[in-house]
Symmetry: C2
Subunit: 218 residues, 2 copies
Amino acid sequence: MTNKETTSPLRHAQGANMEQQILQCAEELFLEKGFSLVSTTDIAKKAGCNQALVHYYFRTKENLFQQIFQAKFTKFLYIFTTFDDSDEPFTTRLRKKMEAHFDLLIENRQIPFMIINELILNEKRRNNLVKNIYNNNLDIYRNFDRELQEEIKKGNIRPISTLDLLINIVSMNIIIFILLPVLESQFNFDNEEITELLRLRKHEAVETIMCSLRPEKK
Amino acid sequence: MTNKETTSPLRHAQGANMEQQILQCAEELFLEKGFSLVSTTDIAKKAGCNQALVHYYFRTKENLFQQIFQAKFTKFLYIFTTFDDSDEPFTTRLRKKMEAHFDLLIENRQIPFMIINELILNEKRRNNLVKNIYNNNLDIYRNFDRELQEEIKKGNIRPISTLDLLINIVSMNIIIFILLPVLESQFNFDNEEITELLRLRKHEAVETIMCSLRPEKK
DNA sequence: AATTTATTTAATAGACTTATTAAATAGGGT
DNA sequence: ACCCTATTTAATAAGTCTATTAAATAAATT
C-alpha cells in the first residue's frame, strides 16, 4: 500500500495525477510486453517522471503489476455472467455471451497474451488466480453447467462436458488476438481492415461453436 | 557459425558432446521460460560447463535460440502435410492430420507457449517466420484450399474460409497446452491423469471441429 | 512567516546480464 | 618430447535491472 489514502488534493504541480499517469503507462507497457520485459525505468520514461517515483507510489514493480493484472483478469471473466437474467433460449444467450466476450477483447486486444504469458510463467500469480476464479465464479459455473446439461438431455445440444465447452469458447475467442501480430506482419493492414477482419472472425468463432453444438442428425 | 565443422573426434574429457549438451539444456529452458527469462548462465549451469562456453559454441544467445526455435516451428507446421497421398475422403484425412498435430503437441507440450511468446514479443522473429511459412507452405496451403472448397461446393462441408478453418484447428489443438499449467495448479494431477485428460481433450477438439464442419440440415 | 507534509529527484548499492579476453588444459600428430 | 589445435575456464568490461537513500522542492496548515 502507498500512503496515498490519507492524502487529499494535489500538492505539486502535476500533483497526485502522476500516480494515475504511472498506472496508465504501466498498463499499456505491461499489456504490450508482459511483466518481465518492462522495467520501472521504461514506465517512468513513458510517464514522464523519475524512476524512483514509480517505487514511491507502488513500492515494487510486482505490486504495480498485480493491480493491473487482477483488474484485467476480473474483467475477462466477468463477461460470462451477462444475459443470465434474460428469458431467451439457452443457445441465444450463449451466443450473446460469446459476442460480448469477443467485443471486450476487441477493446483490450493484448489481454489474452498478457494472461497466457503470466499464467504460464509465474506460478504464484497462477495459483492466486485459480483460487480467485474458484471462489468467485463457482455459482456461475454451476448454473451454466446445470442449464447446459439440461439442454443436452432435451436433445437440443450435442453431448459435451461443460468444461470442454468453456475451453472451446475461450479458445475460439482468443486465438485471433494471438495471431493478430502475425497477420499484421504479413499483410500490413490498416485500422479499418483490422476492424473488418475482427468482425468476420467474431462471426466465424461464434458460428463454429454454435455449429459444433448442433445435435447429431438422426 | 561455430568453428565446429572442421572438428573431428573428441579432444577433451567430455569433448564435443558438450555442444549437444548445451543445445539440449538450452532447449529445455527456452521451452519452459521463453527467450528473455533464460540467461546463458542458466544454460551453462544446467549443462555443467562454464558460461563462456555457451558463447564459444553459439556466439550469441540469439543464435542459440534461433536454431532451437526454427526447428520447433518447422516441426509444428510440418505435420499438416501428412496423409495427403492417401485416397481416403477429405474429412477422414483432415481428422488424421488434426490427431497427428495434437500428438506432436503432446510430445512437445511447451511449443505452443514458446511460439506464441516469441511471435508476439519479437518482431524480427515474427517477420522471419512469416516469410518462412509463406515460402515453404504455399503449395500445401493451395492444395488444402482447393480440396476444401471443392468439398464445400459438393455440400459435404459447411461453407467456411480456408484460413478460418486452419485457425480453428490450431486454436482447438493448442488451447489445452496453454491451460495445462492452470489445471495442474488447480487439481494436482499426476502423469497418468494428465495423459488421460489429454486423450479426452484430443477427442473433444477433433470432434468439435468435425461437428462444426457438418453442413446445415435441410 | 514558519512548520509540516507530500511529492519528486539525483545518486547509488548490489545484483544481474551478455559478450569478450587471455590464459589454461588436454589430446593427436609428427 | 614437441607443437598444434580444440576445448574450457577465470576474469572482466560495460551494460542492465530493482530498490533504497537522502536531499530538494512545493503546497497546506498553523
